[in-house]
Symmetry: C2
């Protein structure tokens, strides 16, 4: 199963420094530094001599010394809530776009929903003197987060808001998203709609369902028509479980449509529905949330509420840069509008 090669062990050589390069090229330290940072100040022949020496010695600039001198690093960090959820990787993509323009690199961290991991990452990132931290926090009100901001690292909350005015936030209007979903279903004639999602401690879930309720009432319908199907998590497996609960309801009380708090739930519900022979959307219309790539690719393409994921990341990165660069930075709370993408899972005919 494994096969060892016959290569000799890697020798533990000390890496060449500017000093070594200077000696080899017979110039001063300052000149080597100039070749690296302001090549136009250096005479062509000298520059060439230095560059040859660098190539010869395999010189690699030491970013620690550089950043130590500069007092800050050239990196941003994004602490993701769940690296396995396509939503967050798309947000990360947006962050990387902005960072690339500003010539910064992005340190991606995964808290994986565990508070102690989040905390460990924050400690480390503070010590690394990153230029700014973007985070989708587990709990936006945790004092831990305020502490980071207070100790001087620019911080931006992504996809979670907070009463806490000490930080910038970038989010999407979840109440509006819920309204869009329900208006769409009500327009299609649905009068009994399941709200699938949980736990309600999650701000997003609460807001989306709140919007749903508002829209339902404003349409002049009795809120009793909304059936809550709580779930323990926002996962595919929980979506299937929710489907089984729906199946268990008497036909007369069974909702004709479901609004799921995210696409993973919706995909699970869809799968379970097809498995028991329910037709989608004729027997059950389904609306998801996030519009991840797999939503469009589902067996029945999923209607979903799209969030501007990459834009969210881009804007968040811009804010963190503003905070780190401008002395007169003022915290902002950006809210984007979501958008409904109608697909087959709510249309009786393609």
């Amino acid at each position: 199963m494994t096969h060892a090669s016959e290569m000799p062990p890697r020798p533990q050589i000390r890496r060449a420094s500017v000093k070594d390069v200077a000696a080899a090229a017979k110039v001063s330290l300052g000149t080597v530094s100039n070749v690296l940072n302001r090549p136009d100040l250096v005479a062509a022949t000298t520059r060439e001599r230095v560059e040859n020496a660098m190539a010869e010695l395999g010189f690699v600039r030491n970013e620690f010394a550089r950043s130590l001198r500069a007092g800050r690093s050239r990196t941003l960090a994004y602490v993701m809530l769940d690296a396995g959820n396509p939503f967050f990787t798309d947000v990360a993509k947006g962050i990387e776009q902005t960072a690339e323009i500003a010539d910064l690199s992005v340190f991606l961290c995964n808290s994986d929903g565990r508070a102690e991991r989040e905390s460990a990452h924050l400690d480390l990132l503070s010590e690394q003197r990153v230029q700014g931290i973007l985070i989708t926090p587990i709990d936006p009100s945790a004092p831990r987060l305020r502490a980071v901001a207070a100790r001087g690292t620019p911080l931006v909350f992504v996809d979670r808001t907070s009463r806490n005015l000490d930080v910038c936030t970038v989010a999407v209007d979840d109440v509006l998203g819920g309204r869009l979903a329900i208006e769409h279903l009500v327009d299609a004639g649905h009068r009994r709609i399941a709200l699938v999602g949980g736990p309600l401690e999650i701000g997003q879930v609460r807001d989306r369902f709140e919007g749903a309720r508002q829209a339902f009432i404003e349409a002049g319908l009795d809120p009793a028509g909304l059936v809550s199907i709580p779930t323990a998590a926002l996962s595919v497996a929980e979506g299937r479980t929710a489907g089984e609960r729906l199946t268990g309801l008497r036909a007369a009380r069974r909702p004709t449509a479901a609004f799921c708090a995210n696409d993973l739930l919706a995909l699970g519900l869809l799968q379970q529905s097809i498995a028991v022979g329910r037709r989608v959307p004729d027997d059950l219309a389904i609306v998801g949330y996030d519009d991840i790539e797999f939503a469009a690719a589902a067996a029945v393409p999923l209607t979903s509420v799209r969030q501007p994921r990459e834009e969210l990341g881009r804007r968040a990165a811009e804010l963190v840069l503003d905070e780190s660069d401008r002395i007169d930075h003022v915290h902002e709370h950006v809210v984007f509008d979501p958008e409904l993408v109608a697909r087959a899972s709510t249309r009786s005919t393609g």
Copy 2:
């Protein structure tokens, strides 16, 4: 859409250093350092005084100075091929597990399939003096990669092998994976099987199809029964396109089963098949590859060849640590065995 708070701008204070802490606690630099690194050497009362001073000043250890002194950092890096593919995020999870035990942090980078981004990341990581780089390279034979290894940074290839003996590699036996898929389909009675995937420049695709061919021939069948359906990429969209090509074939020549080079293709093919009313698996059995989470959650749960994704990451991280720690490190080429997971997409009855 945005709302500015009335907070005063963040004052640009210089962060406290050990020197400031030493002054505040009326001890020497060395003592402060001892409190941080060897607290048992310090008298309890002194330690307390120093710790209070640190809390008071909001002292945060400067990782640059620390790493500069130490000559290396306390981080690993994983350069992912595609952060949007669940396969790679699972590998990353495995890497993080090992890193956590070794008390290192992991720098996740996304090359996104673009060579210039991969190259930029490698430059930066070398400059950061990361303790080791794990990478799923775009092209394992690129000289760029040998250069990194030659300049002294431990390097491990993940999920790609290479004749290049200068680096450790961790991979899964793709030929065996292909054999498993085809043996499963042949056992179920299939005699005309489509091989869906491409481009063939990708080593994995070639190996998987090579294994498929071997197994087919060893079963005593005519290789003409294998129908190649090349694709331009390993994506859901390409899977749908492949499905359309299948639909175009005359019934007599149409394969009764398809082996897809990865799950994204399989999901696309599945979706298209259902859309045109083909029953899966009765009219078309489908086998995917990777066994990503969405495979089990598909409308018809997908039979797939599972790779030990997290294990892959864990083993790779162990190898890179060995290379960075042990002077007598010897490069290894680890190959894992894949495993077939049979689900409804190849079983005529649940």
